[in-house]
């Protein structure tokens, strides 16, 4: 059965710097698709263009040329309200630095995307409770971010990312600031969300362990996609080895 792609990227270029200044080409023609319900990882060393790619996919930045389609809409031409509405409705973000507002409680942070969409109070409460139960953070809801540990913060951030049922969750090194146990919990959680709630996930990382949770990994190097690895029927440990091997070949 042919699945409809959630994200489809074609011929994506990004050049920094003005025309008559020194230019730097961060992305040199990227093509790939992410199917509905897929868990895709993007790996690459620092400076390979990972973050640029993520910024383009999430409309935080505009491409020099090429197109990005999310849920069948070309998002590269979005402006103003359409742009923010797209971000708040279709995308759930999980950032390395959590990006929680420290002046709001966990509950209020999670509710924010729904408040922005004008959802009623009763429904917001219900949705927040539901997502909190799924992520087992019910007892943290009334706390402020400063009262939470890194792992707890990232769970709250994950809850905020999925509470409005976005088309895709984008994670930018979400385990970057976590200890290994919290990192593993978060990745399990993301897998769980992916499998049970059928939300597509795009994970940008340079950490092979995080990457081993993905179904498919795109390796990005010097602004181009170099290699693609699929987990297929391998278990996670085998896949992890494969990733390490792949990274090893890059370094030689």
């Amino acid at each position: 059965m042919q699945k409809t792609p959630v994200v489809s990227v074609s011929g994506l270029h990004k050049t920094y710097g003005r025309k008559n200044e020194q230019q730097y080409e961060a992305l040199k023609g990227i093509n790939f698709t992410i199917d509905e319900g897929e868990f895709v990882g993007i790996m690459g060393a620092s400076g390979s263009g990972k973050t640029t790619l993520l910024n383009l996919l999430s409309t935080l930045d505009t491409p020099t040329s090429g197109s990005v389609e999310v849920n069948g809409q070309d998002i590269t031409g979005f402006k103003g309200k359409a742009l923010s509405d797209f971000r708040s409705e279709e995308i759930g973000f999980i950032f390395q630095d959590f990006n929680l507002l420290e002046s709001l409680t966990a509950k209020e942070n999670i509710a924010l995307p729904l408040s922005l969409q004008g959802v009623k109070k009763v429904e917001i409460s219900k949705a927040v409770k539901e997502v909190a139960t799924t992520l087992s953070i019910e007892n943290l809801l009334s706390k402020y971010p400063t009262e939470l540990s890194g792992g707890q913060k990232q769970r709250v951030a994950a809850a905020r990312a999925i509470v409005h049922r976005p088309a895709i969750i984008m994670g930018d090194e979400p385990t970057g600031a976590l200890d290994s146990k919290s990192a593993r919990d978060l990745l399990d959680l993301m897998t769980d969300i992916n499998k049970n709630q059928h939300v597509s996930v795009l994970l940008v990382t340079h950490d092979p362990f995080s990457a081993s949770f993905c179904d498919r990994i795109l390796f990005i190097q010097d602004g181009q996609i170099g290699q693609e690895l699929k987990k297929a029927d391998n278990n996670r440990q085998t896949f992890y080895q494969e990733i390490l091997n792949q990274l090893g070949t890059f370094e030689q």
Binding site: T59, D61, T62, S84, D85, F95, S103, E108, L112, K120
Partner: protein
């Protein structure tokens, strides 16, 4: 090397330093302007008929010094927050604590000295400009006022440099004592106000009680005498602080429970206010005081300005009497707006001036209903019989004679008047107009012409204009002080609010950036900014107006209608305040709201 590094740090945050310096400069300028009046004993003595005036100025000075101390403490904490990360980094890299302390001290003092000097220069300029405008626009005559006044300069320098010395020492001590790691992460710390309903309730009750005491003290100024001023100052300041602290927390808590909070960014705005409530409370108290002082001073100035024409209207039924009006004078009179004129013929025989009775029957000379000041110029007309009974000795009538020294005035019937055998028939024209103030320049010229033609030694002309000029001279000093201080406080208020608001921008940049990333419309973010700043503007504004309404009680012994002009001055003040709110939000939106896309 370290000095170079720290200079580079300043360069990187030049915008923030500009905010800091501008704020301090305006504060110093305003202080100078106030000190210029307050320390000038000659000025205060010669321009107020009130013995208390110079003491009132001393209390005003104390209040302004208190405000300045809080203001500089603010500025200093802003400076410290800008610098501690840098200095922490230097220490981590191995710079000696003492050396860092020295640098901090010098930097603080330098900023203080620069802003004080520039502020004084600005203050002199503003005093000059403002006094010129006031003298020209209001026709004030003020003695002993100098824009450049040395004692005021010395006072300002002493206070500011002294305060900055203290701040510098404080910074030095703080940096040397705080552990390096804490310096590096000090920005990450947040404090949350605790919810204690009982304390809040006590605060509200105590706050209201203190405000009430202050208001009563001002109303009872006649019994309390000079004690009223310091009593009101202390109680109102404390009361405002307690009230703001309790009301803001309470209101935000209440709003958070409602549906309102869950819509749009409301929750975020409420949280912003809640997080800043402690520092907000202090600034709101100061702003409400400044608001009240500025509005109060302007109201009092306007009140005194109204008082002179009012007194003028109450002392005579007409504004001016012109004898034997000639062509030039007639020209000037036709230039006057909104006037009533009446002309009567006069014939002089010996010591007696005769009037044609018929003219007074056809066009009776109006008389004041009563001579009380509060009568405010209501008039009555009398029948000729009554007029002869009661008005013959009235100043308004006796003053009509040509100024040659006639002593008696008599009425003659039309026929008798025609038969009086005199060479010339004189005329007297009375003009009555409503707005003396606006047309005082023409009236002045008319009066000069009359004086030249009829050089009488005593009173040159009769009528309300004469009285107006007398009282205007008397009240000029008070009017001038009112307007001058009003504008000075307004400038201080503006700089205080602007400073508080801009100093929070750094943290808000991060917050709004987050909101942008999760897809908040720009319109919503703008709403959030406007909402938050509106709270900062509206709360002290409301309390400030209440303060003024009660505070004007103090002027009841001095003025007939202290409240007459309040409505107008509040309106004008609110418009200015509103414009200022608009500018502040625009600047803030530009500072903190990110573009939707990095290069879009």
């Amino acid at each position: 090397m370290l000095t170079k590094l720290s200079l580079a740090g300043i360069k990187n945050r030049f915008k923030d330093y500009l905010v800091l310096l501008t704020g301090l400069i305006i504060s110093a300028a305003v202080f100078y302007m106030f000190a210029n009046l307050a320390t000038n004993r000659e000025f205060v003595k010669s321009n107020t008929q009130i013995s208390m005036a110079s003491q009132v100025f001393i209390f005003g000075m104390i209040l302004l010094i208190l405000i300045t101390i809080v203001y500089i403490a603010y500025a200093n904490s802003f400076l410290l927050s800008m610098r501690q990360h840098d200095y922490g980094l230097f220490m981590m890299l191995g710079a000696k604590k003492n050396r860092i302390g020295e640098l901090v001290f010098i930097e603080t003092l330098l900023i203080g000295v620069i802003s004080t000097i520039v502020g004084i220069v600005l203050g002199i300029g503003m005093s000059m400009g403002l006094s010129q405008i006031l003298f020209n626009q209001l026709g004030l005559t003020v003695h002993h006022f100098n824009a450049l006044y040395w004692p005021a300069i010395v006072t300002t320098i002493c206070l500011y440099v002294g305060l900055f010395l203290v701040s510098g020492l404080f910074n030095l001590a703080k940096l040397v004592r705080t552990p390096v790691l804490k310096l590096l992460h000090i920005d990450d710390e947040v404090s949350l106000p605790k919810r204690r309903p009982l304390v809040q309730l006590t605060e509200i009750v105590a706050g209201l009680l203190l405000l009430a005491i202050g208001y009563i003290a001002m109303a009872k100024i006649m019994t309390l005498q000079l004690l009223a001023v310091p009593l009101a100052l202390v109680t109102i300041t404390l009361g405002s602080y307690l009230l703001f602290s309790a009301v803001i927390v309470g209101a935000v808590e209440l709003l958070k429970q409602t549906n309102f909070a869950n819509k749009k960014l409301h929750n975020f705005t409420l949280a912003q206010i809640m997080f800043r409530v402690r520092s907000y409370t202090r600034i709101l108290t100061i702003v409400s005081l400044l608001f009240a002082l500025a509005l109060g001073a302007i109201s009092v100035g306007a009140g005194f300005q109204r008082q002179a024409p009012q007194m003028a209207r109450s002392t005579s039924a007409y504004t001016m009497a012109i004898n034997d009006m000639d062509k030039k004078e007639r020209n000037l009179v036709t230039q006057l707006n909104d006037t009533h004129t009446l002309t009567y013929s006069q014939k002089i025989v010996g010591n007696t001036v005769y009037y044609n009775e018929q003219e007074f029957i056809d066009h009776p000379l109006p008389m004041l209903k009563s001579r009380q000041a509060l009568n405010n110029g209501s008039l009555k007309t009398l029948s000729i019989a009554q007029f002869k009974k009661v008005a013959l000795d009235d100043m308004d009538f006796t003053g009509l004679v040509p100024k040659i020294g006639q002593q008696k005035s008599e009425f003659a019937t039309q026929r008798d008047f025609a038969n009086l055998n005199t060479a010339t028939t004189h005329t007297v024209t009375i003009i009555r107009l409503n707005n003396v103030l606006a047309q005082r320049k023409i009236l002045d010229r008319l009066e000069k012409m009359q004086q030249q033609r009829f050089p009488a030694p005593a009173m040159a002309t009769v009528g309300g204009f004469q009285t107006y000029k007398m009282f205007n001279a008397l009240f000029s000093g008070l009017q001038f002080m009112g307007f001058f201080l009003g504008f000075a406080f307004l400038a201080m208020l503006a700089s205080c609010l602007m400073f508080k608001i801009l100093s929070g921008a750094n943290k808000d940049v991060v917050r709004y950036n987050m909101l942008n990333r999760i897809g908040t419309r720009r319109a919503l973010m703008k709403q959030a900014v406007r909402g938050e700043i509106l709270t900062l503007f509206a709360l002290p504004g409301v309390l400030g107006i209440v303060d003024v309404l009660f505070g004007l009680q103090m002027f009841k012994p001095l003025m007939y209608h202290p409240y007459e002009m309040t409505g107008w001055s509040i309106l004008i003040f609110c418009i200015l305040y509103g414009v200022y709110y608009g500018i502040t939000t625009l600047i803030y939106e530009r500072l903190v709201i990110p573009k939707e896309q990095m290069n879009g």
